[in-house]
Symmetry: C2
Subunit: 437 residues, 2 copies
């Protein structure tokens, strides 16, 4: 079968009619499915239920004998610092253990930079303009946080190797540029891992602003799908240290997608200078995070071998889900109306439709009961300049539901594509007759 672009308009119109009939049949089923967020499935959460009772009375002290149930240890218990430091690739001494949300630790870094200023620098609240580089598509919550602070979001293109470093290197000559968001491994949503070249160029940046920071959100550090051939990410902190630029990055991770998304622990790893700065501000904010939960995690994962074995169980659950969606997308590729990545890890499949179709697909899916991540959300200000990127989160639904949701998604991509091609040919706005409003 030729691609959609090769079909003549009469054929396309008749195809569109068929697709819409099919769509109405699906819509009549009254589906209520969610592929919007990167949430683990129930079977994944079950993998960590040993944590519900792995602490016993009388065994509630750290390896150094510190009582976890009481106040103290602002930066976390030693065993949690070691575990999370190893996941981050940062020294345990300068790894801070937070609550269940690494997003909050990123918010802390921005808040402290804004109010008090980074070491030796003017607080951002006293600067006219603060710009943040946003490799796109990227993580919507990163962009929303920066926007909420009133910062200017500067899009940077993503390549197959990571952010377009030519653009980054040019943009950081502007001293108003204070930060760049990165999800360097199995990135959200592209699923790619930054290449060694990108990491090395990142570690060699010479920004005009001395208080420029790389926000290195290594959320999927150990979240491989292909456990035999996992992606390898170069250690940014080591590269920075080699260049004497170790203060230029904050690194983050959490166990949200290792243990419980609603009950994990988070971590921020950084240089000694940044750590001392961070601690000086944290000490007025809290006496310390939940050490009992830190101990649960440390007992569950006494070393990285336990993490690897545990993550293999996640992968075994997730691989068929990803494969289901990938298989169902395949015909869209043959018809020349979509392209996507095949990730080796992480939580997302990033689908590109024909330009100008993503919002329409989101709308069609929603009206038939399947919620996708709002199209555009993966770009600064929620605006996808080409209106083509759709983030698919296949992890939460059981496979039977996933099949229904993906089938609907494919159908909607077909409808939106046919509409768009026809509209482009006639120069008119897209035909919206029929039921699919």
């Amino acid at each position: 079968m030729p691609g959609y672009q090769e079909l003549d308009s009469a054929r396309l119109l008749s195809l569109l009619d068929e697709l819409k009939t099919e769509y109405e049949e699906v819509r009549a089923k009254g589906l209520r499915l969610d592929m919007s967020r990167g949430k683990p499935g129930t079977d994944q959460l079950d993998l960590s239920d040993a944590m519900l009772a792995n602490l016993k009375p009388g065994e509630l002290s750290t390896e150094g004998g510190f009582e976890c149930r009481n106040y103290g240890l602002l930066d976390g218990i030693p065993e949690a610092k070691r575990l999370m430091g190893e996941i981050l690739g940062v020294s345990p001494e300068t790894t801070f253990i937070g609550g269940n949300a690494s997003l909050s630790l990123m918010h802390d870094c921005i808040t402290f930079s804004f109010i008090h200023g980074l070491p030796g620098a003017t607080p951002w609240c006293r600067q006219d303009t603060v710009k943040v580089l946003c490799p796109s598509p990227g993580y919507d919550r990163h962009f929303a946080m920066a926007e909420h602070f009133g910062f200017e979001l500067v899009p940077v293109a993503m390549t197959a190797e990571g952010p377009d470093m030519d653009q980054v290197e040019a943009l950081i000559r502007d001293s108003a540029v204070k930060a760049i968001w990165c999800v360097p491994k199995y990135s959200n949503p592209l699923g790619i891992t930054f290449s060694d070249t990108v990491v090395r160029r990142m570690a060699a940046l010479s920004p005009a602003a001395p208080d420029f920071r790389i926000y290195w959100d290594n959320a999927y550090a150990v979240h491989h799908l292909d456990t035999q051939n996992p992606d390898i990410l170069l250690n940014l902190m080591e590269e920075l240290e080699r260049n004497g630029r170790q203060d230029m990055a904050f690194t983050f991770t959490s166990t949200s997608k290792i243990t419980y998304a609603g009950g994990g622990i988070s971590a921020a790893g950084m240089s000694k200078t940044n750590f001392d700065w961070f601690m000086a501000h944290k000490t007025v904010q809290t006496i310390g995070y939940d050490k009992v939960n830190q101990l649960r995690h440390a007992r569950m994962f006494p070393d990285m071998g336990h993490v690897t074995a545990h993550m293999a169980k996640h992968a075994a659950i997730l691989r068929p889900k990803f494969q289901t969606v990938l298989d169902m997308l395949e015909p869209l590729g043959r018809d020349g109306i979509a392209s996507w990545n095949k990730p080796n890890g992480g939580y997302f499949i990033s689908l590109d439709t024909l330009p100008g179709c993503a919002k329409r697909v989101g709308q069609l899916c929603k009206e038939a009961g399947v919620v996708l991540t709002t199209p555009g959300a993966t770009f600064p200000y929620g605006k996808d300049p080409e209106d083509k990127n759709i983030r698919i989160a296949p992890t939460l639904p059981p496979i039977s539901e996933l099949e229904q949701a993906a089938a609907l998604l494919c159908l909607c991509v077909r409808i939106a594509s046919a509409e768009k091609i026809l509209a482009d040919r006639t120069g008119s706005s897209r035909p919206r007759a029929g039921a699919a409003h």
Copy 2:
């Protein structure tokens, strides 16, 4: 025996010699005791060890069926909102559940006010001066937080009924005054509960600043020592609502001294307007706090009856500790060299020495191995204008250690008092001969 003030100088000098000899004997023991912070003792922490295993696989959803192990429910699970709302005396709907530190929720309120501004108000970061009222003696971490933001700390006297409301009512005519810190029940460190009159006057304040807020840190809401006759605190939010001033307060509490200081949950209760404002800023900071731990707490305390019964067990442990210290202080009162409160709840005994003696007592204790809260810490900028207040935290040490620590404390009060009286009489600086440097 007459009081120290009535002794002639020769008698006082000889007494001082005896006291110092005794001091040297104690110092030689090499004590290492801590009465510095309001930490629960191990036996108190044991009371909540049922929480270590009170959640079972398959029983991890809220009463509404929401999966606690996964993402979501930014403001907390319904049963935790109900529990903490009841402790706070605020509607569950407008009660936000945080992590283990209520201090962090206070920090959030200040941060959001500083960066984004309270509803309809200019952000504090764009104001020249922000002043915060600090009823003193008070909680050192409150004062430290406000100081860290660069705010001006304005001391307000504490009376037996709460803050001196004449002072408060006068000070809030200044539009730079944006907040007042309050620990209204079993206050830190005085152990007093604000009278109905004080609460009513607080609820009737007409501050010049529309974004003035009462930070009502109800940390000891259910922490009675005398469970038969607990102090009753008037409900501030109800009084505010009666006056149409419900936006004027943020209320806070936590289970740090109910369950685990290192693994509890916290809450902030407020008006609908403030809650919506708070949520709008929290939503960029986190997807939600640890709901698994919220569920542990909700299962442990299905209603307030369970809280009351649990707190009676704490009281049974704490009463003898407080009584031990109070009994040992008694002779100091007879000698006219100290006064103190007898609290009905909370975590502290607030001791007033003769003016000019507190720092010396702290130093003497420290040199003999007993750590007290740094004298002065209970005042803005760490400066007690009369240098007389000492916060005693009798909860952590076992009674045997507490007796040793309190005996040393009393001895040091005697030494410092004798030195001070003698120095005042001669007009010279205090005699510092001997070993007690």
